[in-house]
Amino acid sequence: MKSIKYISLGILFGVIMVKSEAASWYRIQEMFRFQSFHMYGLMLTAVALGAVGILIMKKIRLKDADGAPIHFPQKKKGWKNYLTGGIIFGLGWALTGACPGPVFVNIGYGYAGMVLVALGALAGTFLYGVIKDKLPH
């Protein structure tokens, strides 16, 4: 029955991505051209409220639904993979106008071309898995 919880959260996420227009190729272009505050406002609100939420959860040592302490994963230190991977991701994000979440939201919305983007994303992930030991991290 736990799946119902995650499917519902996913549905909420999908509706937000469309209704906020964050799943819009046009909006991503507008963002990278600095021609509207819309996407910046959206991300700043999410991060600001998310940070306050996490801070409070840590402060009051909130236990999760099963009574176990909540653990916030620390990212591995370094910069090469974050910067290089980030730049490669950004090139694709601007070209397809979609990050991984919105790719699938847009398939549901009905854009056939997004199926191709998803297949490309799977191929890119697979390629990373094959050559990862040869890349600087």
Partner: protein
């Protein structure tokens, strides 16, 4: 009794009108933060691109490549989230659809027009994402290679917009800040230097 029904229908119409219109950025931003916090409360971490690795494993990539030989079943919840996201997209495009055009800023419409990309008022330009575009050589390459950059880059950087820009920055992670800086460097390069060469 009649009045109760009358008001119920009246309010439902109002609520539907409220949901179907585009949401202001502060409402959407708050809702995204809420999703992240609810996932954290279930000891899950909000990061969509992990699904791409899990799908590769589910398709059997683990038999050939070590990176995909891991416990992908721990990501089952995330795959459910993905199914939900697709359903959310479907609902937004049908039941919750509104007919108004997206309110894109004029300078963007003008700049894209100069590149030959028409603003059609919907979420994405159909000239890039419809069946005709998919089956043209250039259209195919743009979509498939664009997707490959997204998939490769997010795994190399260890996360995408949700994992780094939302979860990571909210938890004050320096690596996420570096990744998000990378997202923008890449996006600006593509938009301002490569778009005129591609389109």
């Amino acid at each position: 009794m009649f009045y109760i029904w009358y008001y119920a229908v009246h309010y439902i119409t109002h609520i539907m009108r409220f949901i179907t219109q585009p949401w202001p950025w502060y409402v959407s931003g708050a809702a995204i933060a809420l999703i992240m916090i609810l996932l954290n409360y279930s000891r899950k971490s909000f990061g969509f691109s992990s699904n791409l690795r899990a799908i590769c494993s589910l398709l059997g990539a683990g038999r050939k490549v070590k990176f995909f030989d891991y416990n992908w079943k721990a990501q089952k919840w995330n795959l459910m989230f993905l199914l939900g996201a697709m359903t959310g997209g479907l609902l937004s495009g049908t039941l919750l659809n509104n007919e108004d055009a997206l309110e894109l800023s004029y300078p963007t419409i003008r700049d894209l027009g100069n590149l030959g990309i028409t603003f059609d008022g919907d979420l994405n330009p159909s000239q890039l994402f419809d069946l005709a575009a998919m089956t043209s050589v250039k259209g195919f390459l743009v979509l498939f290679l664009g997707g490959a950059l997204v998939g490769f880059g997010s795994r190399y950087a260890g996360g995408c917009t949700s994992g780094h820009a939302i979860s990571g920055l909210s938890n004050m992670q320096l690596p996420s800040l570096i990744a998000v800086a990378g997202f923008f460097i890449g996006g600006l390069l593509m938009t301002h230097l490569l778009f005129p060469l591609i389109f």
